[in-house]
């Protein structure tokens, strides 16, 4: 494989990492907050966005899978959930550290079970983690794909519940509101918003790259298993 082919193959990855890296330089120069800990915002929100986006894409792939019965979409749905769970984990950890730094004022309190945003996001994490365990329970590929698709669709309402929890219930989670001055809001200007948007675009490109690669990987693993099994049967 020559350099140009390799560059084309990994173009999404290179673009994503380059944008994330360059954007970081701007975040820590022109996008700073009065307290540096608030710069977690750019990474916490980007991770949360990717978590919701990946779960949203997985439900879309699950519907297509049930309609077309193409295993290709099972891999895409499952790998979307893998990415979603990873970034949901980052969101929870980053949010928890941020909580200790701001709401709890470094008193060593990282979690508040009475906060609906934290609790529903943790439930979302475990629900989709359970989905991944569920996909490993079946030998029959077709049965696994279809049942996993059904479970993936059934779990999806957890996503809007987690997102809307801060509007539906009393929460400690700050609202992102473009009107500065309201208590509990994160104040930002268009520079900060642009930097955040760039992070969201970059991390979304990373999602497409990783899901495509992991799905290829799953297909190759399956092919490898088939060849090995055929050879053992023939021996």
């Amino acid at each position: 494989m020559n350099a140009i082919t390799a560059l084309k193959k990994h173009a999404l990855l290179l673009a994503s990492v380059a944008i994330l890296g360059i954007n970081s330089a701007f975040i820590f120069t022109v996008g700073t907050f009065a307290r540096s800990v608030y710069e977690i915002f750019y990474y916490h929100v980007a991770s949360a966005w990717l978590c919701y986006f990946a779960f949203g894409m997985s439900v879309l792939f699950n519907f297509i899978l049930l309609k077309t019965n193409k295993t290709e979409y099972y891999y895409r749905a499952k790998n979307s959930v893998v990415v979603g769970v990873i970034f949901c984990g980052i969101t929870i950890v980053a949010g928890s550290l941020w909580f200790n730094a701001t709401s709890a004022g470094y008193t060593g309190v990282y979690w508040d079970w009475s906060d609906p945003r934290e609790t529903t996001t943790l439930v979302l994490f475990f629900a989709y983690f359970a989905y991944l365990l569920f996909t490993g329970m079946f030998k029959d590929a077709d049965k696994k794909a279809r049942l996993s698709a059904v479970l993936g669709i059934l779990l999806f309402p957890m996503v809007p519940l987690s997102y809307l929890s801060m509007f539906l219930f009393n929460t400690l989670h700050p609202l992102i509101n473009p009107n500065p001055g309201q208590p509990g809001n994160i104040y930002y200007n268009w520079v900060k918003l642009t930097l955040l948007m760039i992070n969201l675009v970059a991390i979304t490109l990373l999602y497409f790259y990783v899901v495509q690669q992991l799905s290829e990987l799953d297909k190759m693993k399956l092919r490898l298993e088939e060849i090995t099994k055929n050879r053992m049967d023939g021996a």
């Binding site: 540096s36 990415v83 990873i86 941020w98 470094y106 990373l206 690669q213 990987l217 190759m220 090995t228």
Partner: protein
């Protein structure tokens, strides 16, 4: 310890976690795909 240094420490922890996970995900994806492809090509050529 001052508030500024605690803030900087917390930010550093979050950034480390974020970039470590992103890097691990990328390295796992690229390296494993390459290795499995090599094995597959070798088996198919035999």
């Amino acid at each position: 310890m001052s508030l500024e240094s605690m803030d900087a420490g917390t930010l550093a922890v979050v950034l480390t976690i974020f970039w470590t996970v992103v890097a691990t995900l990328i390295i796992y994806t690229v390296v494993t795909t390459r290795n499995i492809k090599k094995r597959l090509d070798k088996l198919e050529s035999q």
